[in-house]
């Protein structure tokens, strides 16, 4: 097993080389943040700043969310003439990020020739809320990784606390079935085994076996805490519509406030829009300031799309998306017959 700091060193070297050889004009990676258990995205353009790149258990952010903005299509011919050439972007990819990039490629939001993908097989990233909870009443001042890949945190009185990685890894990572990037130009670190625990399905089944009204109550429990900040939408690499349905004014389909019915519809529509496209990176969950289980509906839709149409989003960039294709004999036993 290769330690994170070794991968970090290689990552810095790789990014520096890519910039030096002018293979990329921009490199997207993670940077150490001022708070423990966090990193911030880094937009690297200068070789000498490559040292700022970080690779540690807190690099959870899905950097592919920035890609559609970087390659935004010009609005009209005049704008197209004046537009600068699209950049060639290098970016750090975990398994989930690679799936997101694959979906963006499928949906023609980015061009493969404009990307240099630096894949790193992901050992599972830390959920900072879980880590903070695991520390009990203590406040972490710094955090890192030990040789066993567990998390070491230094708390306010200077003592060191070790947190087992499996206890603080994000839910999305525990559920992740392919932590190694399926698509890459350069691969750093050793490959990681896929996980077949089926945890995602277990959670869905747990909710699904409840009676109808209990499920509605559970859903309302989520909805009633939602403040409609739209953070889940902004964090999602798949949400790149020019005008989101929820922002549209003419017609205004859904109220913008926190009316419980509007919020319920927001979550339903988001789940439907994401079905067959969600790569289960967990960005929405990380972004939620209320700590809501925003992937409750998403997990179900992913399982459903896989069962009905044998499709997993992001597995291959050249696959036909489940909801833009069809077959004459798709199941239709849900249809009403007289």
């Amino acid at each position: 097993m290769i330690a994170s700091h070794e991968i970090e060193a290689r990552l810095r070297e790789t990014a520096g080389n890519l910039l030096r050889e002018k293979k990329v004009s921009l490199f997207l990676g993670h940077e150490k943040a001022s708070l423990p258990f966090r990193t911030t995205p880094l937009f690297l353009t200068r070789i000498e700043e490559a040292e700022r790149l970080a690779w540690n258990p807190f690099c959870a952010a899905n950097l592919s969310v920035y890609l559609p903005r970087l390659f935004k299509a010009p609005a009209d011919a005049r704008e197209a003439k004046a537009a600068p050439r699209p950049p060639i972007v290098g970016l750090v990819l975990k398994g989930c990020d690679a799936r997101s990039v694959a979906v963006l490629l499928q949906e023609r939001q980015v061009q493969r020739e404009n990307l240099v993908l630096v894949g790193i097989a992901c050992p599972g990233m830390v959920d900072r809320r879980k880590a903070e909870r695991a520390l009990g009443g203590h406040e972490a001042l710094g955090a890192g990784e030990d040789d066993e890949k567990n998390i070491r945190a230094v708390v306010e009185d200077g003592t060191e606390i070790t947190l087992l990685r499996k206890d603080v890894v994000a839910d999305a990572c525990l559920e992740c079935r392919s932590p190694a990037p399926s698509m890459h130009d350069i691969l750093l670190g050793a490959p990681v085994e896929g996980n077949s625990s089926g945890l995602s399905r277990q959670r869905t089944a747990e909710f699904e076996t409840k009676p109808l009204d209990a499920r509605w109550a559970g859903f309302q429990g989520i909805v009633s805490r939602c403040i409609r900040c739209n953070a889940c939408r902004e964090a999602c690499p798949m949400c790149y519509c020019k005008t989101c349905l929820f922002d549209q004014n003419r017609p205004r389909w859904i109220g913008a406030g926190t009316d419980i019915s509007d919020v319920a519809i927001y979550h339903l529509v988001r789940a439907l829009h994401m079905s067959g496209r969600c790569t289960e990176c967990g960005a929405c969950e990380r972004a939620c300031p209320m700590g809501i289980d925003v992937r409750l509906l998403g997990r179900k839709m992913c399982a459903e799309v896989e069962d009905l149409y044998e499709y997993r989003p992001g597995e291959a960039a050249d696959a036909k998306p489940a909801l833009s294709s069809f077959s004459m004999d798709d199941p239709q036993d849900f249809m009403t017959e007289p």
């Binding site: 499920r215 459903e304 069809f326 239709q332 007289p338």
Partner: protein, 155 residues
């Protein structure tokens, strides 16, 4: 205004002798003509259905169905051409996947599956259209008024 009326109707449903209200989205080429045929053939079916004509079942966005439920419909029905008969070749086939997922999701979050129904009715199936409406109205009547997604405009 109309939706407010719809809400107050739902709220006072039981005492006023509540009748279910179904919003039916029918495709222009088959199901709407099928409903028309039921009419000209003088086939009796419950008057609880409000028909909205759409160019194709592929035009249906699940938001339409949610909006209908939000504004006081007790049930929604979507009907298009039978698979293979779509005026636009494959609109209904592409829609079918969307419908399957919509139905599954509604059930998952605890909305009675009978409130959201999908079917195929061709232009020659006036009898089938009437039978479907009868069945849907009966099922929704058994469920009672829709309270789950309804938006309250009181405050």
């Amino acid at each position: 205004m109309q939706s407010e009326q719809a809400i107050s109707r739902t709220q006072n449903a039981q005492e006023k002798g509540w009748e279910p209200m179904i919003v039916a989205f029918l495709c222009n080429w088959c199901s709407y003509a099928g409903a028309d045929l039921a009419g000209v053939s003088r086939i009796q079916y419950p008057p609880n259905v409000r028909i909205i004509r759409v160019p194709c079942s592929g035009r249906i966005n699940p938001v339409f169905l949610l909006r209908a439920l939000q504004n006081g419909a007790d049930g929604v029905l979507v009907s298009g051409c039978h698979p293979g008969d779509c005026h636009y070749i494959s609109g209904n086939l592409a829609a079918r996947r969307k419908f399957a997922l919509t139905k599954e999701l509604m059930q998952y979050v605890g909305i009675e599956p009978e409130r959201v129904q999908f079917t195929w009715v061709s232009a020659s199936e006036g009898g089938r259209f009437a039978a479907i409406i009868e069945k849907v109205v009966e099922q929704v009547r058994k469920l009672g008024p829709n309270k789950k997604l309804v938006k309250s405009y009181d405050s």
